[in-house]
Amino acid sequence: MDALASLADGFAVALTFQNLFLALVGCFLGTIIGALPGLGPSNGVAILIPLAFSLGLDPTAALILLTSVYYGAMYGGRISSILLNIPGDEPALMTTLDGYPMAQQGRAGEALALSGVASFVGAFFATVGLVFLAPLLVKVALLFGPAEYFALFALAFATLGGISSTNQAKAAFAAALGLGIAMIGVDGQTGVPRFAFGEVHLYDGIDFLVAIVGLFALSEVFIFLEHRGDGSGEGKDAKVGIGRITPSWSLLRSTSPAMARSTVLGFIAGVLPGAGASLGSFLAYTVEKQISDKKGTFGKGDPRGVAAPEAGNNAAAGGALVPMLALGVPGSGTTAVLLAMLLALNITPGPLLFQQNPDVVWGLIAALFIANFMLLAMNIPMVGLFARVLMIPPKFLMPIVAMISFVGIYGISGSTFDLLVMVIFGVLGWVLRKLDVPLVPVILGILLGNLMEANLRRAMTISDGDWTVLFTSPLAIILWTIAVVGFVLPILVGKRIKRRMHMAEEEPGGATSVD
């Protein structure tokens, strides 16, 4: 059992005082970020990356901090779903369907505790899955040459666009826009400047951290400015009584089959590139409804309707780390942001990561286990405290978000130019969101553009300019096939799923964030 031995080494890395402390801080911050309406895992992590970077943490420590935030945000998203009927982030959307009715019946505490346990189950078993699946995937990935990597990147864009948008053309547009932005700067292979328009600041290219913070965090501020006064952006009072905050054994027993099924579904949804936690919780809820809803209690405060999506979205959060770590291709918006973090620290994820930096990978995975227990311990007794955080109205929260975004970016480079670029990306993010263009492919394009081009050119150099090399190896053919299917299939069936997700979204209403 190679994986278990490596995991034991990982615990040795994670169990230092500093790393435990960072995991604790990350879990706490993450839960708050997740709970606050308008801040989700991706923009929460996006704000914190530059900070972790400028604080000079070593890669393992920084990664532990940010993935704890990521897991914490997944836990926290449910709090405002249940208490306010406003999802704290998009994956928590499905939790509103049964969570809020439970709260209205005076069972908010029970719903919170149950969802805490369900989150734990989902995240814990997904992390176990990560331990075993990631090394397997690494073995496959070692067979990849430049041509296969190029196909893999194409696959990531195709499936990500295919699932995260109702409109394939807009997803393709977003990906091309991101790739185009990545082309700005000096070409790595020949040293000629491209798209720099003689501006010296652009020779280094556009820093993806600047783009991410602008697109995710600042655009949120503009959304709130736009909606001021019409109710959807305002914080409501948490009037609903919390009640008892420990779930009874009988409740746990009656919901455990739902949790088990949802964990499996969520994990699979997470591993698929591009699907992410939103799809995980959606699938978990709808499947559970099909299986268990014999008396029509779903949507009226059925505990299984709370347990299923929470287990599903947390399992998906763990599953999404598998392709990110093993292949360097993120499975969701937030893992794309985590990938940015790794690249910023000069670590290239992928099969070589497991060989060259086993301490980073396994330390991270061990830290995830620890973070899970911390989150469970933190979430059951302290849920009242987190619920109080919801009282911070956006009129104070959003200026803080904006200012911290500036602090983070300024801390990295101290450059006014980067700040200006960030504001421009904030506006761009707002416009794209209004036009229903998904932001995640843009980010992915900016992140992977140069790697994708480098692999293409390497493959061409090896084959001496013969383009058919991209489609000759069996592995490449498989990847291209999945890419084409992943892009075309959602055009045929995805509209239906997505429409149902949007219908579910319109019932509770309120601010959602990008995942």
Binding site: A172, P399, A402, V423, K434, L456, R457, T461
Partner: protein
């Protein structure tokens, strides 16, 4: 702006991008693909997807009324000014003013907004500079 206009702008952007790509200077270092090909491929995808958006537009998004647009425009101007002001007047003052403005525009009464701006600025300064040791912009007064 509906999807038709958006698609049109996208096509113009793609055309500009491809034209710029063709003007990239070749270097004496050569590889079979060169620095132009990949950007041109991207430009073509950008153009094709814009064309698809133009031909099959989604329903129009609800653009906010002119007043709201002006609101966002004003916030953008304030944030750009903040970026320029940071190194000139220092973190504390610039941040207090900007945070107060944003808080005011998000619905805080003016006096409270000033207090909120000052509190946010000092709060971030204490947490990120004094406790975490991050370097923030220094103005003429050293803070």
């Amino acid at each position: 702006m509906g999807d038709r206009l958006f698609g049109g702008i996208g096509i113009a952007l793609a055309a500009f991008f491809i034209w710029q790509a063709t003007t990239i200077q070749e270097s004496f270092i050569q590889d079979p693909v060169g620095p132009k090909t990949f950007p041109i491929i991207i430009g073509i995808i950008l153009g094709l997807s814009s064309l698809a958006i133009l031909l099959r537009p989604d329903p129009k998004p609800d653009w906010p009324a002119v007043g709201r647009l002006a609101e966002i425009g004003a916030a953008v101007v304030v944030l750009l000014a903040y970026a320029y002001a940071l190194p000139q007047v220092g973190f504390l003052i610039a941040t207090a003013v900007t945070a107060a403005y944003l808080s005011w525009r998000l619905g805080t009464a003016p006096l409270y907004a000033v207090a909120a701006g000052i509190a946010i600025s000092i709060g971030i300064y204490v947490v990120f500079h004094l406790i975490l040791g991050l370097s923030l912009a220094k103005g003429p007064f050293g803070f």
